[in-house]
Symmetry: C2
Subunit: 437 residues, 2 copies
């Protein structure tokens, strides 16, 4: 077998066998395939697609390229959730302690901000001292003792994915369902899970803005997860506005601590709703609850009783973060930031929010990474005061920008303001949860 | 502009602008595009194609990546021919001295054997001392003084093509019309020609086995050549059997010297016919003759008078080859080779010859390169005794193999024999020249 032969087959739209896909992924991992051969095949896969069997083969091969975590010594159901990424999407930070406080072990391997979207690891690093670079042994110990741990992908987990993802990023071959599925699922399956809940975002702030594409991605991931013996469900959720109140790393952690403290602003409620929906399905798939209604009741109880907050505190202690933020969430926020009210220029109803524009604006001032390797300013952020459908008057705040100085504020204020469309008629309310796969 | 943006456009089937294609080719030449980005774009170009304007832009950009020869001090029409490659395809060796002896300057930059096909440079190197590695200055001097020169592509001629071709070879993206056109034409246009005649092979021994594909390639090359101000014509010629009598480097040079000496076996006649057809069009496009009939008459006269042979001799002297082969062509052949008659197993007519099989068999024993970098044994070869349509009896020779020893002969004799199909009915004769574009 030669790389050229495999490339020729996929170039000509033929099906690759399990052996051929395994030869490819082994070649990527051991370097016997040149990067320029890998990207030629990936472009052919992008344009000629993979069927569901090939999808399964490549996921398996990428999973096999590294270690699979073994949690057989933890006598609890193991479950995780994964989101395809959005703006203000911070549910992981409350789902993990919530699920853990209901008796589920949550080994959560997360990613970083890229483009207009945030990343859980960057959010966690806005907590002073918090360490996301855990060895496999540390990671397992924390999952065992605390109920959940949150860390980055180690070199031992799906190394083929790491290499292929970097090449896809440099060759405009990221946004294709089969390769997205293989990339996400090879990492998630390496967590040794019993159950997995996927949050597939759709709308103008999602990678898959079209509902049909999001659905296709959700179906492919659910099919793949189940075929590997992991009970998998996907929710398709709305990303036509930032999720919850804040965008920006420290601000998002602040919002989560406020929710865990049961101090919940109106703007935070949609975020909590999505989090409860996702977490309830983790409970359901793990047989902790018998219905989503029962599960949600239990989850709300864990917030009201403070148990979820105590889980969060325990994790902070074990991962090196400052547990004081649980008592004083305001300590997360830099009080010396320059503030700018983004005001509406007319009366009306918020009828559209260009979510990607907001995400990119915040990334632009350091809240995220426009390209891999950019450094992050954890303090800057944005509070969404007006949400879709809200009535607003001229001069009232659409949002509040927190940044370093006036220059920074000037550089993006018009971008932020122009992300909002104000109409005369109140728009129809859109469902937050659009589908369950 | 970033490589990703260009890749995205072509990935999505959009047209690239002149500026974008020039950015790509510059990036390949100066290394600012990574090879893995180049191959991703090339695969997207392969699958989503290039239109005729993009075709022209990429040819121009590849041409601009290096030097263009300047023959303005030679007061003769400059013309060349190029073949897309086949088995036993040796016409360059007689076309160059023929055209030169008719007053045309022929600056012929040629290639090497790859796969089942031969290469002019390898054939020339079977002549003791012949030097194909000429500097631009030497090349020009020989064209000027002798009327023709034959050399390999220098680093100064279309360097982007050299790099891209190597990457295409390793990523199964060779066989696509726009990139073939750009590769061939960027080199040919660098020769500073007034006229160009293309020999596009079709049939089971050609890269473009289907006539329609060959025609598409021919049309694209002719369009490109003319758009650059070079009078260009293409012949589509038959490659359903080796062209002429011999396959193998020294044997092919032997055949050409025999033809130039006007000692022409029946099996050599089709080769001469194609050569005259091509050369006559060089004369026509260069206004040396007024019709192909008149041109062919002149060319035949140059053979019969010995003038073409004397041109060939003069070139040998100037490029370091042994001129004695003109008087003793047999001295080209190694008399100590092991000979094996490939015999027909039944009576009938030769109805099919799998030409690629014959080319590959001879490459296998060293007559060509199965992969780039393989070394060549110039002496081994094959004489095609029976041609398509010939009547043959059981035990008569289909061909004669000349190789190193019995082991070598055994390794390919069955392959050679099985390349022939013998039928009861005489097949319809196929045209040697299938179309003129």
């Amino acid at each position: 077998m030669r790389p050229q032969d495999i490339i020729t087959k996929k170039r000509d739209g033929k099906r690759l066998s399990e052996e051929e896909i395994s030869f490819f992924i082994k070649g990527v991992t051991d370097g016997s395939w040149a990067d320029y051969q890998t990207t030629a095949l990936i472009m052919a896969m992008f344009l000629n697609e993979l069927d569901s069997e090939e999808q399964s083969y490549i996921t398996q091969a990428m999973l096999n390229s590294g270690d699979v975590l073994d949690f057989s010594d933890i006598d609890k159901p193991k479950a995780d959730k994964h989101s395809t990424g959005g703006v203000g999407d911070k549910t992981s930070l409350i789902i993990a302690p919530l699920a853990a406080s209901c008796g589920i072990a949550v080994p959560m391997i997360s990613g970083r901000s890229l483009g207009h979207t945030g990343g859980t690891l960057d959010k966690l690093e806005s907590i002073k001292g918090f360490n996301v670079n855990l060895s496999t042994a540390e990671f397992k110990r924390i999952v065992k003792e605390c109920g959940y741990a949150m860390a980055g992908q180690t070199a031992d987990i799906a190394p083929a994915d790491k290499k292929i993802y970097a090449l896809r990023d440099a060759t405009a071959t990221v946004s294709t369902v089969p390769l997205i599925v293989a990339s996400i699922m090879s990492k998630k399956l390496a967590e040794g899970l019993d159950a997995l809940v996927l949050d597939v975002k759709t709308g103008n702030g999602a990678f898959m803005s079209e509902f049909e594409n999001a659905k296709r991605l959700a179906e492919a991931m659910v099919e793949t997860g189940n075929s590997f013996g992991v009970k998998t469900q996907a929710l398709i959720t709305d990303m036509n506005q930032p999720l919850g109140k804040y965008v920006g790393n420290a601000h998002e952690v602040f919002e989560c601590v406020k929710v865990l403290r049961n101090e919940i602003d109106d703007q935070m409620k949609p975020m909590l709703e999505v989090a409860l929906e996702l977490a309830s399905r983790m409970l359901l798939l793990s047989h902790v609850s018998e219905s989503t209604a029962q599960a949600k009741e239990l989850l709300v109880e864990k917030i009201e009783s403070g148990e979820a907050l105590e889980k969060f505190r325990k994790n902070l202690v074990m991962q090196g973060g400052t547990p004081e933020i649980c008592d004083e969430p305001g300590s997360l926020l830099d009080r010396n930031l320059f503030k700018l009210r983004i005001e509406s220029k007319r009366d009306g109803f918020v009828s559209k929010i260009e979510t990607t524009k907001i995400g990119k604006a915040i990334s632009y001032i350091g809240g995220g990474r426009l390209k891999a390797g950019d450094s992050i300013d954890h303090s800057v952020g944005y509070a969404c005061e007006a949400k879709l459908g809200d009535e607003i008057r001229r001069g009232e705040a659409l949002g509040m920008l927190f940044c370093r100085d006036k220059n920074q504020a000037d550089s993006i204020s018009e971008k932020l303001r122009s992300a909002y469309r104000i109409a005369d008629i109140k728009p129809r309310k859109k469902d937050l949860i659009k589908d369950v796969i």
